[in-house]
């Protein structure tokens, strides 16, 4: 079996719980992400999603376990893994353009200043930021615009893996919708591999190729990997008409509402905890001849 592009093996995170004991956030989590895939991880707060994200970014070290990307072990942060943080993390003393260009300059130290600026402007334009706006400081931008800058900064660097940590969590629903569309567009053009955290089920279905479902902590695990069997290009008004949409949505709601609790708190006994693949397809074109039974089997 060949290793996937991004491979997470037996990842375990434990903390001292402050009372002399040990708290296991997750244990032996094992899953993979293929090149060009858009994978969303969904779970309740506190289940360790952000910890996984920080480990993938190289900002935190796991207690044990290995992350490899493109055949190399991940240790420490790298320009190959771009991060869009929930709170944008723009540098407030730099203009919008400089916030993007400093990253581009770090990625391409050999480029001329003009080339760096032009590249940065192009990516800002892709998320709809042009003209005077790019010379403003982040404090003079709305939350939505700031997150656009952050997305432009990440995409402009062409990282091998893009990590999005609840990027739209702090935005209102309307702004979120617009930026999701922009993200889909810019992702579609780039073919980037994306790993994203979210709380929002509809957002996850709209964006993802595959959704990883995490149980509650402690001893959280990635229990299921749900394929999103809705063809691309997707847009928010059309996908709700698709026959699979509500079947998938119901499955996710059921999981988050009930089974994430039922499955919580089971120690792994050292075995790799791989997610079970779930494929829900009611269109009849699927290779799986009995999607209904498959679905039922998973739900028991």
């Amino acid at each position: 079996m060949t290793k996937p592009f991004l491979s997470i093996e037996n990842l375990t995170q434990r903390y001292p719980d402050g009372q002399g004991g040990i708290m296991t956030v997750f244990e032996d989590a094992t899953f993979g992400v293929e090149k060009g895939e858009f994978v969303v991880i969904l779970g309740h707060s506190g289940c360790g999603k952000s910890t996984i994200m920080n480990i993938l970014a190289g900002l935190a070290d796991p207690t044990s376990g290995v992350v490899t990307m493109d055949g190399r072990e991940v240790s420490g942060p790298s320009l190959d893994r771009g991060v869009v943080f929930q709170n944008y993390s723009l540098l407030p003393w730099l203009s919008t353009l400089k916030n993007v260009s400093f990253g581009v300059a770090a990625r391409h130290p050999d480029w001329s200043k003009a080339k760096v600026l032009e590249h940065s402007r192009n990516y800002l334009a892709m998320v709809g930021l042009e003209g005077d706006v790019i010379h403003r400081k982040p404090s003079q931008l709305s939350g939505g615009m700031r997150q656009r800058v952050s997305i432009a900064r990440a995409f402009a660097n062409h990282p091998k893996l893009l990590l999005l940590d609840e990027p739209f969590g702090a935005l209102d629903a309307l702004t979120r919708g617009t930026i999701q569309d922009e993200l889909l567009k810019i992702w579609g053009d780039s073919g980037q591999t994306v790993f994203m955290i979210t709380h929002d089920i509809d957002e996850a279905i709209l964006l993802a190729d595959r959704i990883l479902l995490m149980t509650n902590g402690p001893f959280a695990r990635v229990a299921e990997s749900v394929d999103i069997t809705i063809p691309r290009p997707r847009n928010r008004t059309d996908i709700v008409e698709h026959p699979n949409y509500y079947a998938i949505r119901n499955h996710l709601v059921q999981f988050l509402g009930k089974r994430s609790k039922d499955l919580a708190g089971q120690a792994s006994d050292g075995a790799a905890q791989r997610p079970e693949t779930v494929r829900i397809d009611l269109t009849g074109t699927a290779k799986d001849p009995t999607p209904e039974t498959r679905l039922r089997a998973v739900n028991t």
Partner: protein, 277 residues
């Protein structure tokens, strides 16, 4: 006066306070009696001699006009223009201050970055900080054997603490998010220090620098009264020995004006490095 803006009204009030204050001062000084008006007894007991007293503001203005119209004359060790005296003081303040900045800002960076260095150096800082800078003077004079350099050392020692502590505080308080941005962009330690931590901590650092220059200007007057020779502090003391209170009051005003200008320079710098989150 509804037609005047807030600033205009404030200005008007300032001028009013100034004029009233000067008038009260002028009126409060008793005029010296002319020799002809004295009784014989007063004349015999020396009442006709020029009496020392607090001068009225009009005399101070005349003195100020004289001094400021020729600020850089040099007629020997005890008679130099006010410009030369202030120049000496500023030179001492800036040399001591710059040396303090060269030591305090990098050291503050180190302390701010490293909790171990912070804990290790904190007891020393806490003991050394409350020492009046002038208390170092005898030791400085003995070791350095030079009054000029000792005055500069005193400025150095008094300006170092606010800069050191503020730099450490500012650097330690840089948001982890911004440091993470630097880390995910693979910026090296030096690059991170200059492109992320320094600009992030700059407002706090400059606040420390502003406090330091204020203290340095307070201390230089006292230091120069002790070491003598030149400088605005020496000038004040020398004129007191001459019992020339007009010059004393004039130089007090000049100390205030120069202090204000120094503070304004740092306020400008503070605005330049400020950022809104």
């Amino acid at each position: 006066m509804p037609s005047l803006s807030l600033n205009q009204r404030a200005l008007l009030m300032s001028v009013l306070i100034l004029v009233v204050g000067l008038l009260i001062w002028e009126a409060a000084i008793p005029a010296q009696k002319a020799v002809g008006e004295l009784t014989e007894y007063e004349r015999l007991t020396g009442g006709g001699a020029q009496k020392a007293g607090v001068p009225p503001p009009s005399q101070v203005f005349v003195k100020a006009w004289e001094e400021l119209s020729n600020p850089f004359y040099d007629a020997g060790p005890n008679d130099k223009g006010i410009g030369i005296q202030i120049g000496y003081s500023i030179y001492r303040v800036l040399s001591g201050y710059l040396m303090a900045a060269i030591v305090a800002i990098p050291l503050g960076f180190l302390i701010g970055m490293s909790p171990v260095a912070y804990k290790a150096l904190n007891p020393f800082i806490q003991v050394l900080r409350p020492i009046s800078p002038l208390a170092w003077m005898p030791l400085a004079l003995f070791i350095i054997q030079d009054s000029e350099a000792s005055a500069i050392f005193v400025i150095f020692i008094c300006s170092i603490w606010p800069m050191l502590l503020n730099t450490a505080f500012g650097v330690a308080g840089v948001r982890q998010d911004w440091v993470n941005v630097a880390r995910t962009h693979e910026l090296g330690h030096i690059k991170t220090a200059f492109t992320v931590i320094l600009p992030a901590a700059a407002p706090t650092i400059v606040t420390g620098m502003r406090i330091s220059i204020g203290i340095a200007w307070l201390v230089i007057v006292a230091a120069e009264m002790l070491v003598g020779g030149t400088g605005i502090g020496y000038y004040v003391w020398n004129e007191w020995n001459n019992l020339d209170l007009t010059s004393v009051i004039f130089s007090i005003m000049m100390i205030g004006v120069v202090g204000m200008l120094l503070d304004m320079a740092f306020a400008t710098l503070q605005r330049a490095v400020a950022y809104a989150e």
